[in-house]
Symmetry: C2
Subunit: 295 residues, 2 copies
């Protein structure tokens, strides 16, 4: 299997599980399931759960042990996009080429669909913990909860919001990215390390890898916002500049941002090769994919 085939096989596993987790129901509140599913199955790349599954593989773990938590992270990621797209936030009409939740279901249902996905993420993790027993599931839930909350993703979103229209120094920009995008990406890697078990050294390498690709992901996002196509991205570009946001591109310019991106990716690759050697091939390709993606 080449990289793309392998990526797709992981993503298929995730898509199948997500389809099963959220089924439409003919109940008075049926709309909420439709709205949850609309955004959850909107053609996302599944980067976070693919990361979880690929780390599971190099650690020799069982994918079915990882799936509930990987899907929970994808639900949390999706809820954050729904709320981010709201008129009061980024006011985006399109995401991945499709109308955003509030354009299809109205703002009120979009708010609730986001709330529902966040809550449901915990419901499915709890279901797994109750079924399997033991402490590991709790620890993993704690990793995910902290990554998603005020000391992680939500904290980063707040810094992002408050920095609009005013310049922020590069250390705050990096702090923001580490929280906003980095925390959940890191959690996707670390949840597999916790669930599958590994030694301290390998765990540290995975942690470093996760931090670097999280940063790389955001730098690439900033570059794409300047240079990407609506066709590829499925959403408007140039919105960062229009919103007066500080990004890697506004601080360093696109050319230097590309160089930083290349450096960060080689650090990620080095970290993971150090302990895993050739077995890290997929994770190496994944890091390079993050840097080269067009959407």
């Amino acid at each position: 299997m080449n990289f793309k085939q392998k990526y797709d096989s992981f993503a298929d596993l995730v898509n199948k599980a997500l389809e099963e987790y959220v089924t439409e129901k003919d109940t008075p509140e049926g709309t909420i399931y439709k709205a949850m599913k609309y955004s959850l199955m909107a053609g996302g790349k599944r980067l976070r759960p693919v990361l979880s599954l690929s780390v599971c593989e190099i650690l020799g773990g069982e994918p079915e042990n990882v799936i509930p938590y990987a899907c929970a992270v994808e639900m949390i990621h999706t809820y954050s996009l729904i709320h981010d797209d709201l008129p009061a936030m980024d006011n985006d009409d399109y995401r991945r080429g499709r109308l955003t939740s509030h354009k299809v279901f109205g703002e009120a249902i979009a708010v609730l669909a986001g709330d529902a996905l966040l809550n449901y993420a915990f419901e499915i993790m709890l279901e797994d913990v109750l079924k399997k027993g033991g402490d590991t599931g709790i620890k993993v839930m704690d990793i995910v909860a902290k990554a998603a909350g005020v000391s992680g993703m939500i904290g980063g979103q707040v810094v992002d919001l408050e920095s609009e229209g005013k310049g922020i120094p590069v250390n705050i920009l990096e702090y923001m990215h580490r929280c906003k995008t980095g925390a959940l990406i890191k959690a996707s890697v670390m949840l597999s390390a916790a669930l599958c078990g590994t030694n301290k050294k390998k765990e540290e390498c995975l942690e470093e890898y996760a931090e670097k690709i999280g940063l790389a992901f955001q730098i690439k996002d900033d570059i794409l916002d300047v240079e990407g196509d609506f066709k590829d991205l499925g959403k408007a570009t140039g919105s960062d500049a229009a919103n007066g946001k500080t990004t890697f591109a506004t601080i360093y310019g696109v050319e230097r941002s590309r160089e930083i991106l290349t450096e960060v990716i080689s650090q990620a690759v080095y970290a993971v090769k150090r302990e895993f050697g050739d077995e890290a091939e997929f994770l190496v390709n994944l890091a390079e994919y993050i840097a080269s993606r067009e959407s």
Copy 2:
């Protein structure tokens, strides 16, 4: 101690714990803590955690075992109010006589403050589970998660939203209330039963009590929306009629709604007296307080 003194002593315990859980921080995302705290400490009645603590008392449990979960429920209740008040939802400028979150912090932060409180509820429950170990905390978290999610509160909010401007039959109205308000009130009672331990019979009585006071709470809310004062309620009245909502008051009229309320309260009182006798005094008074409150 009379009823009011005892109620206040439970509420004080909750307020103190909530103050400790959410402290303002001088970090780049500091606004989110301010916004969380603003709504959390906005003078709520603490009905749900007071219920948890009073059930804990008649079961001979330790309040400190119940506090984290009772506070989590109050955080979930508060997040739902913040999102409910948003312009896209009920569009309320005031709650408990104070400006709502989005009027003070803007809509974007209000959305995130709600998200943050929901996420934080799980963070504090997880912290307790990790500290104490054992299965009970997980089961309680599961009770809370289900009550807050699509099969509970969020489901009820969706039915509420979708029934605006059109009449709904009484069975759907009751279903909506059971989910929207009832589920979290019931969880407040049942989480204490699970944490403190009890027998099947007592648990069933508590469950019946919880269901009845949840329903009573909503009937009273519907009556207050017609007859309450802004002064007492701290929010606009008559909004149900203005929004074309079906309520107990619109279906049965205020007089008949009062009678139903009295019936439901006596069923709650009967349920709890059956197994607990005189020890149920506070819970009996609490049921009557729900029916007689002016806000």
